[in-house]
Every structure is written in C-alpha cells, then in structure tokens.
Amino acid sequence: MKGPADLIFYVLAAMTVGSAILVATLRNIIYSAVALLFTFGGVAGLYVLLSADFLAATQLLVYVGGILVLIMFAVFLSNRISSVKLSNPVHFRLPAAGICLVLFGTLAYTAVSPAFALKARVTYQPTTAEIGELLMTRYLLPFEVASVLLLAALIGAALLSRPDRPDVARPDMEEPK
C-alpha cells in the first residue's frame, strides 16, 4: 500500500509508541496520564486504519472516558500529590526488563506468524450487527464471564464505599430538615 495511508500509519505508530514510552518514564503521574491519552488516541487511530471503527470508538469510550478519568480521579483524591516530585518512581528495573523481553518476544512471534488473514482493501462496513451476533452466539461464555466479573467489581466498589456502620446515616448525605 502506497500513499497517505502508509504515512498516517507511521505517524500514528510513532505517536502511540512515543507516548507509551513517556507514560513509563515520566516522573509526574499526571503527565503520565496525559501521555496515556495520546497512546489511547493513537491505538484508536490504528483501529480506524484497519476499518474497525466500532472498536476505535470503544477504545476511546472505555479507555479515555473510563480508565483514564479513573486514574486522574485516583491521583486527585490522594493526599498531597502535587507536592510529591517523584510520584511515579521506578522500581525493579531488571525483572521488569526480563518480563518485557518475554512479552515482546511472544507478541513479535505471533505478529509474524501467518495466522492472520490479510484484508486486501480497507472498507467501512457496519460491523456492530456482526459483533453483536457473535457475542450472543459463538462468544457467549466469555461475554457472560466478563459480565459476572464486572458485576463482582461493582458490588465490591459499593461495599467498599459504604459507611462502616449501616445503622448510622451519614450526615452529609442527608436532606436538610
């Protein structure tokens, strides 16, 4: 494939990888979070290039609208985050490097293996109906398992945020008399 699609691919890939490196190396965790925004954006762009527009939008909705906002909230709610210069310290360099190497090897091996079907031309067909059908038939079990997992997480969050003694109502959540 020649032309602008190649160029766009390289720009997006550079953006994804570059910002991912920043996420890992920046010392300020807020900066890491903002760099993560560009990583997610780059991955979403790659999905669009592969004509997986639904997946791209999901990537933005779930990771930017959900995970990233959650990370920022966690940072804001922690104590004295702005005064701590090293809020994103580096630990365990050597084991991390080993794990990364193994992961990279596995991914590279899978990527070059001929198991992927290549599409000749990028087309933007509606994919949602097909995805929905597959989720309800072939991939029903993984789908349901993921739902149960999320439900468990929801119940856990509700339990954690409950007041310690259920008989004592929290005064700040009460209607003024």
Binding site: G3, P4, I30, Y31, V34, L37, D53, F54, A56, A57, T58, Q59, L60, L61, V64, G65, G66, L68, V69, M72, F73, F76, S82, Y124, Q125, P126, T127, T128, D172, M173
Partner: protein, 372 residues
C-alpha cells in the same frame, strides 16, 4: 463519500487529473471541516447573544442593546474583546497542561459536529457508528476539564474540574441508554439512517417521539440527562458561582477562556441536534419529502428544518437555565444514579419488548393499519 466526491471533481475538471487523488480528498476534507467549524463558531457567537436576550426577557430587563441594531453585534464585540485580552497564565500553574486543556475540551466538543445530519446530503461524514462516535469523542471533554482543574493549581478550579468530570461520567450512562431506543428502531448507529427511519407518510407521527410510550419518555429522559451532561443550570454544580467562583476555568482568561465557553455552547447544539435526529424526526417535516425535491432546494429546506428544531431545543435550554434553581451536588448524583439510570434501563427494556411484540411497528402505524 468524500473520495467519491473527489473522483467526480476530477472528472468534472480535467486539469486536476495530474494531482494524486488523496490530495484532492484531503483538500475537500479541509474545506468541509472549515465550513462546519465556521458554522459552529457563528452559532456559538449568536447563541451567547440569544442567551443574554432570553435572560433579559425573563428577568424583565432589556439585555444587550448598544452594539448594532437591538444589540445583535454584541457577540462580535465580545469575541474581539476576548481575542485582544491579555492571556494570563498563573505563575504557580502547570504551564504545559494549562495550555493543553482548552484544546482538549474544544476538540472533544466540536469533533461531534462531524456526524450531525444537517440535511439530506449535508453531513460532514456519515459514520456507521454515528451516535457511538459522539459518545466516545466527547469523553475528551472530561479529560480536558480534569486537566484544566488540576493545572490551574487553584482549589476552586480543582473542585470544579472534579465535579464536572464526575457529573459528565455519571450522566453519560442515562444519555446513552436514552438514545438507544432510536438506534433499536432504526437498526443502525448512523445518524442519517436514524433520521431516514422516521420519514414516511405519518407526518410528525413518524417521529420516534410518537413511536410508542417508551420512546416518548425516552426523549424527555434524554433531554434532562443531556442538559446535565453539558453542565448547564439547573445542573451547573461545576461552575456554581456562589460556591466555586467559576469552576474549572476560573484561572483562564482571554482566548483560552473563550475555548471553554465555545465548547459549552457547542455541546448545547450537539445535544439538541442528537435529540432532534433521534426523536424529532431530524430534517423531516409533515407532508413534504425533502429527499424528493431537487438537490439544492432539498438540502436547503432540510437544513432549515433541522436547524429550526435543534435551535428551538437550544432556546429551551436557555429558558430552563433562567427558570430553575441549581441542584446540590449530592442531589445531582442521586438524580442520575437512583432515578435516571434505572428509568432509562426500564425504558430500553420496554422499547425492546415493544419492538419484539409488535414486529417493530409503532402506535401510529398500527392505527393507520386499522383504517386500511
């Protein structure tokens, strides 16, 4: 769509055949983007004027009346003022993030204009995932608001930013759930398809609003939840003047403040446009099929109809703003999670059952079939 437009352009103007096709496509994209942005900015400017006039009427005063006839040029004066004002970045602020945040909010808000179906053929890009795209791209606004609140290094800004983010994230759920009935009826996420599914001979009874009782309530649930998602009164907790001075943009001035301001008005239009496209029949009017008209007139007519409906809803937002008092922050969260979310889920279930039981036919269609 743009590529086919580029091909037809090359066919019409033979001189261009030497130029690679993708440059022409890119050029058309830029032109389309410029047109949409110009519309969005003009609308936002005029909306500020209308808002002040509406406020004036409701509070029994005159409102802006000095610049131009009946003050109509006030928004231009305000725009120039905002451009020329000193751009202040607080000394203790995080410079990089402080500068970045307005762009994130602005992009998140105005990228949604791409899929707004202004008319029969007037849509910048008719994506297959139209509605879903709007939901996804507006999540940039949340990040922008949070970053703005943090980078300002100001208590009020941080509180405002966190309130705004919590509110937008909470109300995203009822907004999405309230829009899904329209998607179910049309069987497509594309906004243009959803508008087309509401045509037919029934006039306004072809609109999703009157399809069945559940869609009727869905529209109002959507409008309320969307009002909250745009952070406007009675849901303007993030910028509650009496508590937070101005919320997440308290430290911003000049053109950077203008970005936040424009994004809010852009959000109002996008929300109203989605309500119009999903429930009020988009550019359909009773007894006249815009698609059957000649291309130019059909497009102009449908553009007028769509803008009329959408801007009408924007004016209702302004009216509500000056009518209702502000909610408290815990009341706001309770309203979303305890009332709107369960109600929209119930509505979605109701619409699904209705479509299953009556093979996708709405009440108007059933009444029509009674009379043959």
């Amino acid at each position: 769509m743009l590529e086919s437009l580029a091909i037809s352009l090359v066919d019409a103007v033979p001189v261009l055949s030497g130029v690679p096709l993708w440059t022409i496509t890119l050029l058309i994209m830029v032109v389309v983007a410029a047109v949409v942005l110009t519309f969005a900015l003009t609308y936002a400017g005029l909306a500020t004027y209308v808002e002040r006039k509406v406020a004036g009427d409701i509070q029994a005063r005159i409102g802006p009346n000095r610049v131009g006839p009946v003050g109509i040029l006030q928004f231009l004066a305000d725009g120039i003022k905002l451009l020329l004002k000193e751009d202040i970045i607080p000394a203790k602020a995080d410079r990089f993030l402080f500068v970045l945040a307005p762009y994130l909010v602005f992009i998140g808000s105005f990228a949604a204009f791409v899929v707004v179906p202004f008319g029969v053929g007037l849509i910048a890009s008719d994506l297959n995932i139209g509605i879903y795209y709007v939901m996804a791209i507006t999540s940039l606004v949340v990040v922008g608001v949070l970053v703005a609140g943090w980078a300002s290094n100001n208590k009020w800004a941080l509180l405002g930013g966190m309130r705004a983010a919590a509110q937008i994230v909470s109300y995203e759920i009822p907004v999405g759930m309230a829009l899904l009935p329209a998607v179910l009826i049309a069987g497509s996420l594309s906004l243009q398809d959803i508008v087309r599914s509401q045509g037919g001979l029934f006039g306004i009874f072809g609109w999703n609003l009157f399809h069945n009782p559940f869609t009727f309530f869905s529209f109002f649930l959507y409008y309320v939840a969307a009002l909250a998602e745009t952070n406007r009164t009675p849901f303007d907790i993030p910028e509650a003047e009496s508590e937070l001075v101005a919320g997440y943009h308290v430290e911003y001035s000049g053109i950077r403040f203008a970005f936040f301001f424009l994004a809010e008005y852009g959000d109002m239009f996008v929300v109203s446009a989605l309500a119009t496209a999903c429930f009020l029949g988009g550019w359909h009017v009773p007894f006249l099929n815009a698609e059957a008209l000649p291309a130019v007139w059909g497009n102009l007519f449908s553009l007028g109809v769509f803008l009329g409906k959408a801007l009408g809803l924007v004016v209702v937002m302004m009216w509500v703003r000056w009518t209702l008092p502000r909610l408290r922050v815990d009341q706001l969260m309770r309203m979303s999670w305890k009332y709107l979310v369960p109600l929209t889920f119930f509505n979605l279930l109701g619409v699904s059952l209705w479509l299953l039981l009556f093979q996708g036919r709405g009440i108007p269609q059933m009444i029509a079939s009674l009379f043959g």
